[in-house]
């Protein structure tokens, strides 16, 4: 068997929800433990490193603001891949993944907006401006809320899956807009300084806590996402078992 078909088989093995549940039970304690350790290290570094010579203490807001903002976009990208999984491969877990990710993504986007605002007031002198970066992230937040509302509004998971998958893919156009907004338009928000051509423009003193916090937030996302997917599979099982019970009760009468 070629390596490629082996990889595909592994991927389709995961399509079995029972296998996914077994895997989730195995990895969740490790992921949760690792997340706690990373946050302990990240928070320690965040508060022990020096303040910025211009920004002073407020530079520490960066260690939650930037990871939350990265995660808000990564979460939407995970949802977009899941949407492709629903529409193209009809992977049974793809819709579960997209649905479970939406509230988590909304929370991270909310955090990015609030911490950004709390950083903006002392540094820019304003809580909010309607510049391209801030506005496009706000649109992302609204899209998360819209997708959550849509998922709740439709009873039939199969139908909701297709509609929200299409909507997720249409909304994905916003992700490159967020990423490049600081280059395409004249914004109050600063341009990228960590991931950029020519290397990072941040001093290692700030980069270290930032990267540890970014990994911690990423692990938090995966832990919560796997747990939320497991909950969603259970929720669907409960619904189908109740339906089955009602049907067999109807037959007995």
């Amino acid at each position: 068997m070629s390596e490629n078909s082996l990889a595909i088989r592994k991927f389709s093995d995961l399509a079995n929800p029972t296998r996914f549940l077994a895997l989730a039970a195995r990895v969740l304690p490790w992921f949760a433990g690792l997340t706690v350790l990373l946050f302990a290290a990240g928070l320690y570094l965040s508060f022990t490193t020096e303040g910025d010579y211009q920004q002073g203490e407020t530079v520490r807001i960066m260690y939650v603001h930037v990871p939350a903002a990265w995660l808000s976009m990564m979460c939407y990208s995970v949802m977009a891949v899941s949407a492709l999984g629903t529409l193209v491969w009809r992977h049974p877990l793809a819709d579960v993944a997209a649905r479970a990710a939406a509230p988590i993504g909304a929370s991270f986007t909310f955090l990015a907006l609030v911490t950004g605002s709390l950083w903006g007031k002392p540094m820019w002198g304003t809580w909010w401006v309607w510049d391209a970066r801030l506005t496009s992230v706000f649109v992302l937040f609204l899209m998360y809320l819209g997708l959550m509302a849509l998922n709740r509004a439709m009873d039939e998971p199969g139908k909701a899956a297709k509609v929200s998958a299409v909507l997720i893919l249409v909304g994905f156009v916003n992700i490159p807009i967020i990423k490049f907004s600081v280059e395409w338009w004249n914004t109050l928000h600063q341009p990228a300084s960590v991931l950029r051509l020519g290397g990072s423009a941040i001093d290692p003193e700030f980069l270290r806590p930032l990267l540890v916090m970014a990994v911690a937030f990423t692990m938090l996302f995966f832990t919560l996402h796997i747990a939320a997917m497991r909950n969603e599979i259970w929720r669907r099982r409960v619904t189908s078992m109740r339906r089955q019970a009602a049907r067999s009760a109807g037959r007995e009468v």
């Binding site: 002073g56 520490r60 609030v114 911490t115 950083w119 099982r237 409960v238």
Partner: protein, 56 residues
């Protein structure tokens, strides 16, 4: 006018509350669903795949 430290503490405070709320929601949701499944199984209701002997 808030001091710089107050902005930092407010940011970390809101982040902690949001993350804890999220963790708590996923946790309680999981517990509630697990209880429902256990109650259904206790009532003798099995999933069709399990009934058919396709236990995995």
């Amino acid at each position: 006018m808030m001091t710089h430290t107050a902005y930092v503490l407010a940011s970390y405070g809101i982040a902690a509350v949001t993350v804890l709320a999220l963790v708590l929601w996923v946790w309680t949701d999981g517990r509630a669903r697990r209880r429902e499944l256990q109650a259904l199984e206790a009532a003798g209701i099995r999933r069709r795949s399990v009934q058919a002997g396709d236990v995995q």
